[in-house]
Amino acid sequence: MVSTLPPFQRLIDEHAADLHRFVVAMAGPHDGADAFQETMLAALRTYPTLRSDQNLRGWLFTIAHRKVIDHSRARGRAGAPAADPPERRHLDPDGPDDELWAAVAALPPKQRSAVVQRHVLDRPYDEIAAVLESSEDAARQNVRAGLRRLREALDPQEVSL
């Protein structure tokens, strides 16, 4: 079969900026830069074996999602609320939302990915579901649960409804 995949460079031209925002929001600025490059290399490794040119963006983001999770597993903090995430020391002192960074970093990976895709990157639920390899309902559920958890972390008094 003749390949119909576009040149890999075009994928990078179209999606690098968004992919970068995604992994940085997921992993913090330092680990994010690593995860971004790891994602590109992993994508290049398997690109020629892809059987379809459909949803290449989703494919790329799925790889990124897994890279970030691998990263946090390797550091032994997958899903474990990080009291003082290492990303914090890389933060710009001029008014970044430290508290929010820490809360996002403490989310379980799936919720973190869902919340970041929905509210940082403004992506529709069908795309989020494709990246999470889940149903659209599950994607919504993860966004909702993630937001609730962020709210609990940022505003503890109001939680006990």
């Binding site: 040149p7 075009r10 970068h20 940085v24």
Partner: protein, 217 residues
């Protein structure tokens, strides 16, 4: 939906969504720098199958592409999308814009167009030519030096099949490496310039540049 606190929750969560949308997401190095470094790492791991860039010449821009084996494609014009689409289809989809990997190609083209080079000293990847067409292109590059011309018929003889001048015509029309594999030196019997992938004007320019055709007037 029926929960009494839903709206209150939504308002609080909207505020968080707002803060999320304003998270600063820059890294120490820019996206471009990170991409460039990843591409260099990819090259070390042999994950880039085709590198391309655009070379500017007196006869217009050329899209030039190389595999690790050598120059694989020279395309007239600057339609990088079309050129890289066909490279992705015909060679590999791992096609990246990598000017540095084509430095020698661009240097030798500059020298050729500047009149300082008559013979290209580049590794060539012939994979986009096959069979008799490949034989013909080999014969052309070996037997017809700078400043010389040959007819389709003569080239058919040199390629070992005197009756195949039409096939020689299609070999020239589909030459993946024009200029470097000098199909501009192939003329119709009687000396008529004939066609050229880069346009007849370009062919005339090249022939005059090589002194194979007298300048006008």
């Amino acid at each position: 939906m029926t929960e009494p606190h839903t709206e209150l929750l939504d308002a609080a969560e909207d505020a968080i969504a707002d803060r999320l949308a304003r998270l600063p997401l820059s890294t120490e190095r820019s996206v471009t720098e990170l991409v460039d470094e990843a591409v260099r790492r990819a090259e070390v791991e042999a994950l880039v199958d085709v590198a391309w860039t655009v070379a500017d010449t007196p006869i217009g821009p050329l899209v030039v592409a190389a595999t690790p084996s050598g120059l694989v494609k020279v395309e007239f014009g600057d339609d990088e999308d079309a050129a890289t689409d066909s490279l992705a289809r015909e060679v590999s989809p791992r096609v990246m814009r990598m000017p540095a990997r084509l430095d020698q190609v661009r240097r030798e083209l500059d020298e050729y167009f500047g009149g300082r080079r008559h013979v290209f000293d580049l590794a060539l990847d012939w994979r986009l030519a096959r069979g008799f067409r490949l034989t013909t292109l080999h014969a052309l590059v070996q037997d017809v030096p700078f400043g010389h011309t040959v007819s389709y018929k003569d080239l058919a003889v040199r390629a070992g099949n005197p009756k195949a001048s039409r096939a020689v015509g299609s070999a020239m029309a589909t030459n993946p490496l024009p200029i470097v594999v000098p199909c501009h030196r192939v003329l119709r019997t009687g000396g008529d310039v004939g066609n050229y992938g880069g346009g007849v004007e370009a062919k005339i320019w090249l022939l005059r540049h090589e002194g194979a055709l007298l300048p006008e007037g």
